[in-house]
Symmetry: C2
Subunit: 196 residues, 2 copies
DNA sequence: TTCATTTCTTACCATACATCAATGCACGAT
DNA sequence: ATCGTGCATTGATGTATGGTAAGAAATGAA
């Protein structure tokens, strides 16, 4: 419960000084989530931002055929939220749940608004982070438009190093937009290549 | 050169009052671009935002095999920019060019920063617009992960109504992540279905 | 207009990935 | 240990989309 990662985030990424922190309405606490436990469900309006102190979350949608599509993973020190829902007050299109037992800091609207009021730096960093998010999403779109399953898998390994062992393969497959069977074959091919 | 759409944008979408406008360092002018003319090239650092007063732009990247991938189209009153490049001062990953003869308002860093300083509403709207952008990108990823070429084409028709006749089919195909030949076949199938 | 170039369509075959089904393996519950 | 359940692998086959090539149609230039 030490919230080390979160403190680093507040200082380094968010840019909030100790002085700023004292002006906030409250200091966020973390919540525990068990493996498999939902953090938000589809259809809920979600105004919170989730900071992952420890563990691993995933954000995904479920399409008409009932198939899960994983938008992204969030390991330690990453942030997730259903921004579409939070900003437009519409019911969200996404689920978030825990892949591992996780410790998550929940930042609600009040906290975020207060931090934005208090600190220009926070505002700017927030904006920058959003731009970075857009950058990543566009890159993902590019890959989905043009890359093969193998290329997308290799990119996944780059974007999420160390995650390939923590995430079950069928989830990775879902993230890549292929079936678990296909991913298995891709991995087999890659293994073959590396022995040559 | 009346900049009607742009004025509507400044008032309605950006939320800048007449008073705000007078405080700005300058009032942006529009530039003309001929069909096919580049607006920014890959590798350039781009700190500008482009508002389309009239005409039609596209944003795209070019992958290793030299294939163009269209990220999105921007008809009248839409905005494009290479946000990844503008915010991180890195060379951009994208091209923007004109699909039709176009009239484009170029908003540079100075303008955007000034407007952000002057108006809290502008800042908030800007932020909201970014969130909306993220929402759209995520939706696009979802489609690319799970939908067939036909479903993606139907979605394109919804997102960009009236554009299917203005954009050459090979560009639509590029946006959808399929070949022009496949799009041709998809359209044929759809026509067949509608006659029954 | 006429000619040249680009875009669209169609046909045929190739390929990547999906689907289905069977098997094996790991891990937790009892 | 034993069973059950979910996950990963493998093979056989199906299907959507890609690649190539040719001709038709549209567009643009002279």
């Amino acid at each position: 419960m030490s919230l080390n990662n979160f403190k680093i985030y507040l200082n380094d990424k968010a840019g909030l000084t100790d002085n700023d922190l004292q002006q906030l309405p409250y200091i966020p606490k973390s919540k525990q989530f068990k493996k498999g436990q939902p953090i938000i469900g589809m259809g809920q309006v979600c105004k919170d931002i989730f900071f992952v102190e420890k563990g691993l979350l995933r954000q995904f949608s479920i399409d008409d055929q009932g198939k899960e599509n994983i938008i992204h993973f969030a390991p330690e020190s990453w942030i997730v939220s259903d921004r579409s829902s939070s900003y437009f007050n519409q019911s969200g299109d996404y689920f978030i749940d825990a892949i591992e037992d996780s410790e998550v800091v929940v930042l609600d609207e009040r906290f975020i608004n207060a931090a934005s009021e208090i600190s220009k730096i926070y505002r700017e960093n927030n904006h920058r982070a959003l731009h970075n998010h857009v950058r990543n999403l566009q890159k993902r779109i590019n890959l989905l438009l043009s890359a093969t399953a193998e290329q997308r898998y290799l990119e996944f390994l780059k974007v999420y190093p160390n995650l390939s062992l923590r995430v079950p393969q069928w989830m990775i497959a879902s993230y890549l937009g292929i079936t678990p069977e296909s991913l298995s074959r891709v991995r087999k091919e890659l293994a073959k290549k590396h022995f040559k």
